[in-house]
């Protein structure tokens, strides 16, 4: 858990450095103005949330196969951190959308499916709290985790599959980045900082989950 605490503090410092780089040392985009800099927190939050949920899908599948409780504990940790991050995506997106699109929200595929993903994983956490048998809870959670993770590629591809006001990826697109190099460098720096923070948070939350699992196992015979 000490590793998680160190990684988290390092991640927070890295995010602070990304803020300074984005605000003071990165140019202002011609069409959108300063609001475009929301990208440097919106996109990394989305990247880390999707990473968290993909890992949940992988670990949930492995849990159903191997039955190792540590995989279930990691999935729970990753979901909790992912829900915080996807929450940030859903807050910063409308704040960016209002000055650029002229509206806080549109019920279009990318935004709506991201909102559903948030609800689904809030449901995952609620399900875990409602079940008391550890093995049954882990099994049902794993199924929900796999189903939730299957939404991630759909959300990523939704801008190609449907007519949507959400822009297509500006870095991960087939033609290469469509931004100046300094913008891409700041974005990648920020993605790195958020990823480091994700690793710290998930490590710390995993440690908490292991402690709880051990206590649960110890208390089980007395119950």
């Amino acid at each position: 858990m000490r590793t998680g605490r160190v990684l988290t503090v390092a991640g927070l410092l890295a995010v602070a450095a990304a803020y300074v780089r984005a605000i003071m040392f990165t140019g202002i985009e011609a069409v959108q103005g300063p609001a475009q800099k929301i990208m440097y927190v919106h996109v990394p939050s989305a990247w880390c949330a999707f990473l968290a949920f993909v890992l949940v899908g992988v670990c949930s599948g492995l849990y159903l196969w191997l039955g190792d409780r540590r995989l279930d504990t990691f999935s729970e940790a990753s979901v909790e951190v992912g829900v915080v991050l996807i929450g940030l995506v859903l807050i910063t997106g409308p704040i960016w959308g209002k000055p650029i699109w002229g509206t806080w929200w549109q019920w279009e595929p990318r935004l709506t499916s991201t909102l559903f993903l948030f609800f689904l994983f809030v449901g995952y956490l609620t399900l875990r709290r409602a079940m008391f048998d550890p093995a049954e809870r882990a099994r049902y959670s794993a199924v929900v985790g796999i189903l939730g993770a299957m939404l991630v590629p759909f959300i990523h591809l939704s801008v190609y599959m449907f007519r949507t006001i959400h822009p297509r990826p500006v870095v991960l697109n087939p033609e290469g980045p469509t931004m100046p190099g300094s913008f891409v460098a700041t974005l990648l720096f920020s993605v790195g900082a958020f990823t480091l923070l994700y690793l710290g948070l998930v490590t710390m939350r995993y440690g908490l989950g292991r402690l709880r699992a051990l206590r649960e196992a110890r208390d089980a015979p007395a119950a």
Binding site: L12, Y19, G27, A30, L88, T92
Partner: protein, 51 residues
């Protein structure tokens, strides 16, 4: 994308987003550290090793 000499007046949207993200990330990190600490203290209280 081009660089702009005269910034548009929508910087307050950027500041609001950055402030909310900072508060949530720092708040969640601190809360998680406190939860871990509470669990460790609970373990100590029951006479078990912490880590």
């Amino acid at each position: 994308m081009l660089l702009l000499r005269e910034p548009l007046d929508n910087g307050h949207f950027m500041l609001a987003a950055y402030l909310i993200v900072a508060v949530v990330l720092v708040g969640y990190s601190v809360m998680l550290m406190l939860r871990v600490r509470a669990e460790v203290l609970r373990e100590r209280g029951t006479g078990n090793r912490e880590e």
